[in-house]
Symmetry: C2
Subunit: 255 residues, 2 copies
């Protein structure tokens, strides 16, 4: 079982290392930039290239883990072969491979990956798709070696899942960043927020987030809301505060 | 050591129960609404009232745990006594008590509280303020019985902390609610997001949130961003998506 990785970003890094850990062989890493290709290849102990025409042709699987904007272009440059071509993108349909490969599919791990941070793949939900029943079974075997939480999902549903994940992960993380910034301005150590953040997350394991909502917006405490708005200098932060408070209040009234 | 609680909301519920657990006596609970007063009094096994003129006059401490909008009004209605009067609000200054009590202060536990959810007070950061050195020491002793994480903070800094907490807790929780809503529309079980949400939170214990940022906005992947905007029907959610993506991109460029 030999795998070629096309892409060497956060997701490619963590996925290739996880695959190697369960005994799959990473045959080669491609990246547009030699520094990224080399870095990941060193971690994996495998060859690397920045030349798509130099891809090994005999791999069992080709994992395209690239920015959505370049995925279709790169696929078009890879010579046809007998391997299974998959991508790992939430928002790209499976049929981006149509006309370029005979066997193709998707393996989308729903997680936030950073190059330098180990994650345990066991619990990561992995969403699969394949163009034949045979490769669906094959992909399921591969994914099940990585995680206990594997299921099939259509391209259309997957893009909704990805959108929800952008809210649940990227946007919440950015809001953490904004809250840290507010504390830094006041020279308050930001880690005082961690027990609050941990509890906010722990709560939604026990109740739906709409039921867990607290704070001035759900109470519609205009006194606090107006004081807070007056304290925010940054126009974007002020707008974020207003918009989210209004949205909290609106959802509460709909219930 | 006898304590009277004025207010019976989420925070009052969890704080009074935590105080009772470490051996403090809750003498009485007041709430504007008899149902709330009774509910908390039953949990505590103590008398309750909806009449501010019927408050016990001999307590050591009076905890005002009320919406900011009514706090000053209620304080003005309580007859002077020899107890220490404190409130638990992030955004209200300590001097809201000035002219009404001789001894006063603040005990602000930085946490999200729901009536029905147990929380461990041990790790909750508690921020104190008092109008005399003697009562500062007294309040510190009381707070230290509840938590290992007690410090003093001025009213001015506390209101910035509260603002940051609204971002870190109330806004992130609401964004979880929006992401759940997106999945419900697609009949995808929302708990598939939990490993992602847990990792997003775990990451910021290891790195600052700005360094942990991932997703289409930080990559400025317009392909994905535009697809996502086209998928959002709700105008508020569309605006939230745009505003937060722009803010993520802006912060990334400032670094």
């Amino acid at each position: 079982m030999k795998i070629v990785f096309i892409g060497a970003g956060n997701l490619a890094t963590r996925l290739s290392l996880a695959m190697q850990r369960v005994g799959m062989q990473i045959g080669q890493v491609y990246s547009h930039t030699s520094e990224n290709a080399r870095q990941l290849a060193v971690k994996l102990g495998c060859p690397w290239t920045t030349d798509l025409s130099a891809l090994q042709a005999d791999a069992d699987m080709y994992v395209f883990s690239l920015k959505d904007t370049v995925l279709a272009d790169v696929i078009a440059q890879v010579k046809p072969n007998n391997g299974l071509w998959i991508h790992t993108a939430g928002s790209m349909p499976m049929d981006v491979f149509e006309g370029y490969a005979a066997r193709y599919g998707v393996l989308y791990p729903l997680q936030t990956f950073s190059k330098g941070r180990e994650v345990s793949f066991d619990v990561i939900p992995i969403f699969l798709e394949a163009n034949t029943k045979k490769d669906a079974d094959y992909l399921k075997k591969i994914a099940s070696a990585l995680s206990e939480n594997v299921r099939f999902m259509s391209s259309e549903k997957r893009r909704s899942l990805h959108l929800a994940a952008v809210f649940a992960c990227n946007f919440t993380n950015h809001i953490y960043a904004l809250s840290y910034k507010l504390l830094e301005q006041e020279e308050i150590p930001a880690d005082v927020l961690l027990p609050l953040i941990d509890e906010t997350t722990a709560k939604i394991h026990a109740m739906p987030p709409a039921a867990a909502q607290t704070g001035p917006a759900i109470r519609y405490d205009e006194n606090v809301i107006n004081k807070h708005l007056a304290m925010l200098d940054d126009p974007d932060m002020k707008e974020i505060y207003q918009l989210l408070s209004r949205s909290i209040h609106k959802e509460a009234q709909n219930e």
